[in-house]
C-alpha cells in the first residue's frame, strides 16, 4: 500500500533572520517548514545583514530537504523589493506576505516576484506565496485574498497586530480570535488552500500552548506558526493520529486500492460507500502517522 505524499505544514518555525545561530541550526529541529523572518523580529539596523544571512542560508545544503518560507517586509516599506530579490533568487519555496489587507496586496507582490523569476530564469509561478492576515480589514477580505493567486499555498492569521486592531488583547482561551480563525479557515477551505494559526509566544507555558493547539486543530487548521523549537514536538504529537484512526484509514485506503484494481468507480467499506473526502482524510492521517507516529491517548 502506498500513500500519496501530502506536504504537511503542522509546524512552521519562525527564525529571526538576524540571528546567525538560529539560522545555522534551526533545520535540526525538523519543523515541517522553517520560516525565516526579515520583518518584525529584525531591527531596522539589521535589515540588510539579516537579508544576506537568510539569502545564504536558503542556498545552503542544510536546508535542501526542508520547506523554506521567508517572511519579507511589505512592498511599501524600504525593504520589500530587496527582500524579494534576495529570497526569490536564493530559491525560497514560499514567500510569506505580511499584513495582507486585500487581494491587491497579493497581486502586487506576485507581480514583483514574477519579474524576478523571469530575470533569474526561474520557472514563473515556482515561488509559492502565503498571505498573513493581521487586521480586521484583512479578515473581512479573507475570501478574496484566498482566491487571489494560484501561488497561494495558504493564508495565516497574525494575531499580535490583529488584536491591537480590534482594540483588545489575547486571552488564554482565545475567544477574541474565534471570528478571525473561523473566517480564515472558511476562506482557505473555500479556495482549496491551507489555513495556519498564529504564534503562541510564551515558550514556557506548555499547558496553554497545548490547549490552543488542540483548539485550532479541532477548528480544522492545518498547522501553526511557532516561535520556539520546543513547541514542535508538542504540536506534532497533538496532530499525530490515534491507533484507531490509523487502522480505519488503512482500511479506507485498502478498499480504495481494491476498487482501483477492480476498475470499480465506487469504493465501499463494510458495506458503506466511501467518498473522495474520506479517502483524502485517510491519506492525511497516514501521512501524519508516518511523520509523527501514533498518539497515545
Amino acid at each position: 500500500m502506498e500513500t500519496a505524499n501530502i506536504k504537511l505544514r503542522r509546524s512552521m518555525l519562525f527564525v529571526p533572520g538576524s540571528n546567525a545561530a538560529m539560522i545555522s541550526n534551526s533545520f535540526i529541529y525538523k519543523p515541517d517548514s522553517v520560516m525565516f523572518d526579515l520583518e518584525d523580529s529584525v531591527a531596522l539596523r539589521e535589515k540588510d545583514s539579516a537579508r544576506m544571512l537568510v539569502s545564504q542560508a536558503l542556498q545552503h545544503p542544510f536546508y535542501k530537504d526542508i520547506e523554506k518560507v521567508v517572511r519579507v517586509n511589505a512592498l511599501d516599506s524600504d525593504f520589500g523589493v530587496d527582500d524579494l530579490n534576495a529570497v526569490v533568487r536564493s530559491g525560497t519555496d514560499v514567500v510569506r506576505l505580511p499584513k495582507t489587507d486585500s487581494a491587491q496586496d497579493v497581486l502586487d507582490m506576485e507581480k514583483v516576484i514574477e519579474d524576478i523569476e523571469k530575470d533569474c530564469n526561474r520557472e514563473v509561478g515556482s515561488t509559492k506565496m502565503l498571505a498573513a492576515v493581521e487586521s480586521a480589514l484583512g479578515i473581512l477580505n479573507a475570501k478574496e485574498i484566498a482566491f487571489s493567486s494560484p501561488r497561494l499555498i495558504g493564508i495565516a492569521l497574525g494575531a499580535e497586530d490583529y488584536v491591537k486592531d480590534l482594540k483588545t488583547e489575547r486571552s488564554p482561551d482565545g475567544i477574541e480570535l474565534l471570528f478571525a480563525r473561523s473566517t480564515i479557515l472558511h476562506a482557505a477551505r473555500a479556495a482549496g488552500i491551507m489555513a495556519f494559526d498564529t504564534v503562541f509566544s510564551d515558550a514556557n507555558d506548555e499547558e496553554t500552548f497545548l490547549k490552543e493547539a488542540a483548539l485550532i486543530k479541532q477548528l480544522g487548521f492545518d498547522g501553526k506558526s511557532l516561535v520556539n523549537p520546543r513547541q514542535i514536538e508538542l504540536l506534532h504529537n497533538l496532530y499525530a493520529p490515534t491507533q484507531k484512526e490509523v487502522d480505519f484509514a488503512k482500511k479506507v485506503i485498502e478498499a480504495s486500492d481494491e476498487a482501483v484494481q477492480k476498475g470499480s468507480g465506487v469504493v465501499s467499506l463494510n458495506g458503506k460507500m466511501v467518498d473522495a473526502p474520506i479517502i483524502e482524510r485517510a491519506q492525511l492521517v497516514l501521512q501524519r502517522a508516518k511523520l509523527s507516529g501514533v498518539r497515545e491517548l
Binding site: A21, S55, A57, D82
Partner: protein, 95 residues
C-alpha cells in the same frame, strides 16, 4: 569596489562572526577564532574569495569568529562590504 568608510557587521555571539572593515592601503586581514586556530585558514579563504568576487584590492578586515558557518561568514562579509562602500547590491550578479 572601493572601501570608503569604516563599518561593522555581525555579533560576538556563538555561531556568528563580527567583521570590522576599514579603508587601508593594502589587504590586511586579522582573524581570531574562538573555536580554534585551525579554522583560521578556512575563514581567511571565505574572506579572500569574497574580496575577489567584489574586486576589492584594499581593505583592513578584522574577523572575530565564534564558530560561524561558511555561509554566515560570507553573508557577514558581503554586508560589511556593502556597508563600507556606497554601492547597492546587484542581486543579479550576486545570486
Amino acid at each position: 569596489m572601493e572601501i570608503t568608510k569604516e563599518a561593522v557587521v555581525g555579533t560576538l555571539e556563538s555561531s556568528d562572526a563580527m567583521i570590522q572593515i576599514a579603508p587601508c592601503g593594502e589587504i590586511d586581514i586579522t582573524i581570531s577564532s574562538s573555536v580554534g586556530a585551525q579554522f583560521k585558514e578556512a575563514i581567511e579563504k571565505v574572506i579572500q574569495d569574497t574580496l575577489e568576487e567584489f574586486k576589492i584590492k584594499k581593505a583592513k578586515i578584522v574577523v572575530k569568529d565564534k564558530g560561524a558557518l561558511d555561509c554566515v561568514l560570507r553573508a557577514r562579509m558581503i554586508t560589511a562590504i556593502t556597508r563600507s562602500t556606497n554601492e547597492k547590491i546587484e542581486w543579479k550578479q550576486l545570486i
